[in-house]
Each structure stands twice: as C-alpha cells, then as structure tokens.
Amino acid sequence: MRKLLGISLIVLLSACASQTTQPEVDDLTAGSGAGAGLGGSDLGGAGSGRPGYFSQLNDPNSILSQRSVYYDYDSYSVKGEYRELVLSHARFLRDNASASVILQGNTDDRGSREYNLALGQRRADSVKNMMTLAGARDAQIESVSLGEEKPRAMGQGESVWSQNRRTDILYRGE
C-alpha cells in the first residue's frame, strides 16, 4: 500500500515538474513586478527571440563566460583578481541596454540561515555597486541572496566553504 502511494506520488511530482518547467526557465525576475514600488524596475520584457549577444556571453574564450566571484572568509569586497571579470560584465550591460542580470550572493553554511541570507546579499550588492559605477544601469541588475541554501560544494572544511562564498552572475533569458 505504502509502495503504491509512493509510486503515485512520484508520478504526481513528475507531472508537476513537466508542467512547471516552462514558465520557470525564462523567469529570473518573476514576482519582482510587485516590487516596483521599491525602486524598481521591471526586468520582464520577455522578448520572444533570443538576443544575439548570448553567443558572446557564452564564448569560452571571453571573460564574459566566467560568472562567479569568490570571496575571502567573512568578506564582501570583490577581490582584485575578480575586478576585470565584474567590470567586463558591467561594460557589457552598459553596451547592451536590453540585457539584464540577476546576481546571486552565497555563503558557507555556518550560522543562522537568515543571517547568512543577509551576508550573501552583501556580496551580491558589492558586485552590483561595482557594476553600476562602471556604467551598468540600476534597472539592469537585481541583486539577491541564496544565503547558505544553494552550496556549490557539499561538506565541511575551507576547500568546501571557499567555493560557497561567491556571487553568481546570471543573465536573464539564458
């Protein structure tokens, strides 16, 4: 009986997955519409065709294909070695007014989940500040935090934690 229930649950869940995938994919800013009052911007736009600039963004020979900024322990400032990466994306945003990004800050998993969420936000905000100073428009960038919830590496120890202290740059529509 339990087995049967388990199977039917799996069927239900996979049905869910296939139905929800479509809207989710292209929807980095879902819900931000309601936040327009907070200074906002609607990153929506939802053009049907895929803009040509994605080939440039995904060219492995371009610095634009690099999307992660890593941090020292308990630090939120963008290290010198990631400066060019961040500035390159900033210039790209400045030159492609229709492009927009979501910056996801992340932390390691020590301590309060909500406090870590706030720390991750600080990391994403530091990248956003650098980008807007370099000419990207505020409306092109949404900085958010995933806190400790989406670790890139699992486990304990500095080699794991250092990979989780990062900000990821995601382009809308990718």
Partner: protein, 434 residues
Amino acid sequence: MPMSINWFQSIRAAWILLLCLISAYSHAQLNIEIFGGGASRIPVAIVPFADENKLQQSITRVIGDDLQRTGLFRLIDPAGLSPHAPVEVVYGDWVNRGANALVIGRVAAVSGDQVEIQFRLMDVAKKSQLTGLAITVPTSQLRAAAHRIADVIYEALTGDVGVFSTRIAYVLKRGNKYALQVADADGYNAQSIIEYTEPIISPAWSPDGKHLAYVSFENKKPIVYVQTLATRERRAVASFKGSNSAPSWSPDGKRLAVVLTGQGGSQIFLVNADGSGLQRLSRSSGIDTEPNFSPDGRYILFTSDRGGSPQVYRMAVGSSESGNAERLTFEGSYNVSPDYSQDGKSFTFIHRNNGQFNVAVQDIGSRQVQILTNSKFDESPSFAPNGKMILYATEINGHGILSAVSRDGQTRQHLTVQTGDIREPAWGPLPTWK
C-alpha cells in the same frame, strides 16, 4: 505596468504545483529520546484504560509519552493492578508504589466510527478525584484525544498550560527535495504542506494557527509566501526586487514583519498579511534581520550587525526608527535568531562560543543569560506556547534533526526522522479551543 505576463505565469505555475501536492503525505515518523531529567519529577501511574486494547491506537501510551517528554513526570508501573473506576481503586496499593497521582479510565464504541473515552485523574494522598473528562471522537482522532487528556493531566498537576495538542512546522530535506511539513507536537501525523526541489526556510505560524508564512527559493531568489493550511491556497506577500525573507507575524495576525533588500542592505519592513501596505521599520546601514514580534505587539526583537558583530536588539514598533533600538546581548561575538517567550519576559536565541552554536535564553529584565545546550550546530530556537520548552534544529552525524530542551535546560529530547535532514522548526500556537 509591472504586472507582467511573467508574474501571472509564475502564479499559474505555482498553482499547478500546489494542486499536484495537495495529497502529498509523508510517512516519516519522529522518534523521541530523552536525556536526563529534572530531580523532582511527579510520580504518576497510568493504568491502561478498560477495553482500549480493542482500539488500533493505545490511548494511555500516548498520554504517558506526552507526560514523560516534559521531564516533569516519572511513570509508575501499574503492573498487576487494573482499576478502571474510582470504586475499584485501592489507594494503599498506589501509596506503596510511590505514585502521587493515578490515571484511570475506559473506552467504549458509541456508534459507527465513534469512540467515547472517559478518564479520571485521582489524587492518591487525598483519595479523591482531581479532574476527569469524557470525550467522543472518531477513531481517526484517537491520538488527538489522548493529547487532550494529557493536557488536562499536565494542567491539573503543574498549573501550567499543556502544549500536547499543538503542532510544529519544519522543513524536511530528503535528497534534492524540500518539504514544508506540519506535525503534531510529538512528531506524529507529519504532513507535507508543500514540496519543491528548491529550498524553503523560515516557516512562521500565524497566531491563529491557520496559516504559515515561509521563504521559498523556487523563483531563483527568496520570496515570502503565506499559505492557508486548510485549503493549501497561498500567495506571495513579499515579492519585491531583491531578497524577501524572515517573516514574523504580528500578534493580531494582521501584519508581517519581513526583511527586504530592495532599498539597500537588509532592512525590516511591515507588510499587511495580504501583501499590501508596505512600511519601512528599520533604518540602518548594517544588516537588520530575523524580526520577532513581542506577544503584546509593541516591540520587535531582531538581529543586527550595526555594532560590528551580529547581536540581538529590540526596537519599539511604534517609533518606526530602529535608530532607537536597544542592544540586548553582549556576551560573545555572535548572538542571532531571537524568539520571544509567550510572556514577553525572555527570549531564546543562538549563541556562538568557541565555534559551537548553542541554544540560550535571556531574561529581558535582568539580562541574565543561560546556555541550555552543548551541541555543535544548533539553529532556529522556537518557544513552546507555554514557555516551558524550546524546539530547535541540531545536527547529529551530519544529519539535521529536531530537538527540544526544557526552559531550565534540565531535559532534552531528540525527535529524529528515519531519513533526510530536518531543519527550521517553528512551534505552533495553542489550539483555538484552549
């Protein structure tokens, strides 16, 4: 207009997901282990009720487990004696066995699926009945009836409100699936409210116990939702640009304190429970997060790093400027996740010392701090609605489990699940009939 097609699409997607999940039940049961216990426990004998062996669910076992978990009672073995009515009680037998109180009763099928349970709590020294109750329930509600009886016994013997009929909420991570679950306070009857492949954190009970607010990452960023338990209907109440997190209900259930980042930094805002009427509450250049309303609604405790390290602060809700916030914690460089006791006189929080994260309690008036646990990674402490126990998440062998500790630190218990990680517990309010 900001009401983009995307927004509607995501709402629709959420609905499809919800419809799919309405019947998702978890069979995970929580087991209870007890450590230590107070020195002066009340000796109670519980005689199996007449004819309860005909039921699928033992009533008296549930009552005994409930009482034992508090650490306030010692169960006396009734072996060999089986009175079910006051006239059958030979008090001398129970005096000899060291029992101060005696629980007796009987069950009887009434009609169809209904069962009547009669119970009496006898004072052994005074040879008289302390209290009693007769309740009729469907067989599916036998555990609930047992919790209610345990509440009556607890209240008669301790003078405090019983919390055995309350519920808890927590997040269960199994594989790459996250489930927001609600269970009875003893961990039974766990039921998934929503399941997803993206993280869920910070569940918060509405004061009437009918809704849960929580943070979901299903749209690539944290968004605060409020979900109605009975209908499973939900809505985003804070879905602004940036991150939205850390919901806490006002005691009247009309508003939520939330943390938003759209105006720079992580700051505390108030929003109506329907998502309208946004109002900024804190104003600092640092992090202000983890708001928690006082039971009278006048104050908010929160975590802030404005002084250089994360500490617990208190601000008045009316003044609307956290510049006037008062720092409450001073010991150590990391004090987070405050949660008020129901009387508003103390709060529980997580205190870091030597790399360990432990549950602590601080008396607001005297500033006295007591550290209640000695584990390594405790998180999310939550007071029981009678202020006698604190539910929290901890880690054993790399797995997240729920634990509870008595307010005085004397009794601890683990509530473990067979597989998966449990985290982010929140103890629900007293049921409305209490």
